[in-house]
Symmetry: C3
Subunit: 358 residues, 3 copies
């Protein structure tokens, strides 16, 4: 595909772009380091600007004001990251799934219903009274529990488990090994024993949600654990029972959200973070990696640290934390010097009062 054709595709999707240099053909997208003949690359993170000067890519997508070396063709647009996304979609497309129809080696309960164009692999189990939308793909080893409702165009990668009564919207993608709707950690303490509380709620996953691999999203004790439309999770997210997560959120990886936490819309949480139970995190909050959200966070706040504080403050705190032992020394030094000074002052005072008395 010619760069000019690709530019048209970008512009059509709302990212006006133009070719700078020769209008060559590209057939694939690759990283600056690895791209070679016929391959298109991109620069979005300024960190990699030195890789830009050395790339063997045939052409690059860059910002409008980014300099490229002479002879290297470029597509220029305001947001190169969006631009390369379009280029990957156009040149590579999304994954094509194997076609199984309904495999003779799947186990679909007679009372389960499948919509049009099912694509159900071998060793998938679909339990009684499950209702599956049209054009749903399930890779081998998935389990869909009794009375589960699933919308259209969902994709479950291998070994995904959806417990009984849970609900998935349309166009939900779940990566391998993720579990939806297992019992929450609900026990009443009686002496030192834990009496299990039946977890009679369920989990509801909105439209266009994508969950990474090996996540675990509890069902609710009562009512619902929910994940809003358009929210994206990385791998190994652990969501406690009764948590409500808004639409269009993005959580990176190894994030734990404790039970009954309420998270607003368009919240981003960096990897290895934790959200306390029963707290409210507002809309458009952004939390850095390794952050501990212990208390409510207001709309639009950017927070970081353990415990989480506004990010500028957190960075100052972190800058202190790395030298904490030195500060302790300085405090001790201050105490010693202050004591000395006090002594000196007192001695002088005595001298003074002595002289006064003279």
């Amino acid at each position: 595909m010619k760069l000019s054709e690709l530019s048209v595709e970008l512009s059509k999707r709302g990212f006006p772009a133009q070719v700078d240099g020769e209008d060559i053909d590209v057939r694939a997208v690759n990283t600056l380091d690895s791209a070679g003949a016929g391959e298109l690359s991109f620069l979005s993170n300024k960190k990699y600007v030195s890789a830009l000067s050395k790339t063997k890519a045939a052409a690059v997508i860059v910002a409008e004001d980014m300099q490229v070396r002479k002879g290297l063709s470029a597509i220029r647009c305001a947001d190169p990251y969006a631009g390369v996304t379009v280029a990957i979609v156009v040149l590579h497309g999304y994954r094509k799934h194997p076609k199984w129809g309904v495999s003779g080696k799947a186990a679909v309960h007679v009372t389960a219903s499948l919509g049009e164009s099912p694509n159900i692999a071998e060793f998938v189990s679909i339990a009684a009274d499950a209702k599956i939308g049209k054009n749903v793909t399930m890779y081998p080893g998935c389990y869909v529990g009794e009375r589960v409702k699933m919308g259209d165009d969902c994709v479950l990668f291998p070994n995904v488990v959806v417990y009984d009564d849970c609900v998935l919207g349309d166009r939900v993608t779940v990566h391998a090994g993720t579990v939806i709707g297992q019992d929450g950690l609900g026990y009443a303490p009686v002496g030192e024993k834990w009496i299990k509380i039946p977890q009679v709620g369920r989990t509801i996953i909105g439209d266009d949600v994508e969950l990474g691999a090996n996540c675990a999203v509890d069902r609710a004790t009562l009512g619902e654990t929910s994940i809003g439309d358009g929210t994206k999770f990385g791998n190994v997210m652990v969501i406690g029972h009764g948590a409500k997560i808004g639409p269009d959120c993005m959580f990176v990886g190894l994030v734990g959200v404790a039970g009954s936490a309420k998270i607003g819309r368009h919240v981003t949480i960096g990897g290895h973070s934790a959200v306390n139970g029963h707290i409210t995190v507002g809309d458009n909050v952004s939390a850095g990696g390794m952050t501990g959200l212990m208390q409510n966070v207001r709309d639009g706040e950017k927070v970081f640290g353990i415990p989480a504080v506004p990010v500028e403050k957190a960075l100052r705190n972190a800058a202190t934390a790395v030298d904490l032992g030195d500060y302790a020394k300085r405090i001790k030094q201050l105490e010693r010097e202050l004591a000395k000074l006090r002594d000196q002052l007192n001695r002088q005072g005595e001298v003074d009062s002595t002289s006064d008395q003279e």
Copy 2:
């Protein structure tokens, strides 16, 4: 069921209760926010007291001294959380599993033995010489290794894996995707290479243990990794080889316990915490979320923080940590002022000595 009948059920189970208001019928339990006609709710966490005043529930379970609005029927008892547990058990009951008998699509080795009333789903594999107790349910995709011993009344949700030679007690419940008995991270370093140490130990899970989804419990190098009777895990717990965890513990989620750690009985550990290898954590210890247990902890201690310290101290530490950058400034300010004071004092001293010399 009438509130009065439910009160009798509570009292029978050791939670004396009485009806306050009209003795109406309830058919289900729900949260204060979601409950409607015919539904019973409850207040246990004071945080939700405003939800109590607005609930559309037909009745509520509350503490003896909790005020409810006029016309709202209540069951009053000392421990409303225990009370609602009983109500959920009585009105909803525990999950009823599908009935598979021994599915023709399961693979049970001829030398494996199954107790009475097996309930083994399609795509379950049970390997040679495994001994399974009576009334055991295994959902699709479970794997039970060679020579595994499993007690009665166990439930393995989909895709649970139990490695060879491990032992599960009676009434063990394991949620989907959890792995028991994989090799520990045991290697002898030789130069920069890692020589694998055969992990010839096993994992022993006590009676009445419940493990959440996607946990990983190593087998021991030698001897046993063990989890005591009645212990409950949330999701994604990672237990290192040779760790010994006592009975009646509760770990929340994303907790890592390093190899050879010894944890006493009735220990609770909040989410996203870590326990160092080879340390001893006493009985009845309670650790907050995001806590790093680096050293031994004595019986009965309540700890929090990274590194873990007694919780009151940890809260004071955290209150300082959030303003750490400011404290650094104050230290610098102190140093400046102290220097100034010292100068001033020295100058004055000179003045004094000057006047002395006069």
Copy 3:
């Protein structure tokens, strides 16, 4: 096997050893606490020296200068940990896998190719155009995607998933539930929506790699996520898209590595740690548990803490952190005392200047 024969085995493998005491027969290796008649134990971690004096083991492997009680036979060698590794290998050997051949209940696509001596269990799926080396074992429930390439002598424990196009070297061992090659968290933000970037890269796992249970290793957006030869992971490692991990590393458990991080060779990372995206961690770096590697780390550094700093500094920081609230008090106390001193000094100065004026 006689101790003298075992000593010969150790010496042959590069760990010169000799028998001290009676040359008895041993048949198994066990821990100091659990070993009994006919069993060999060992002391490597000095922490357990008291267990050595009480052990009922028939013999022990110990360092050359370690005292053992009279009558207890010993094999002495410079590195008892390496010694016991050899002893376990010789006396117990590595796990023997069940033999399935190619199970009639596996689903191997007609275009997939299997090398010599395949050992493919029931309920394994191998997709189109996959190329599997010789002598590969796959336990039940594994899924190997389209066009995957896998070397010789690999072992996939139950329910391992390898996505399309990924590559595994020779002698790779993957524990149960681990997922290789799922899509990375790659989205272009457009307003509050997230537009999925097709993840067209792949994951490459080197020779002799061992991965624990329930890990998740992303494929790359473009190019490769890679894990070098000889690297070993514990459980629940989460590796972001495009990360490059060198050879001979060891990561303990619950470690998250964010996208595009570059980690050198022979890097060890303790449990519950996190590596920031796009940073470079040098060769031979060692990071303690619960460490946050936020910025580049130079070759050979030993780091610890959140954020990571050199370990001696981190330990001083931690020693301060546990008393942080007290330090805050001391700062306030210093401020009060300094103010008092200043007052006193000023008053004295006034007195002085008053007397000057007299």
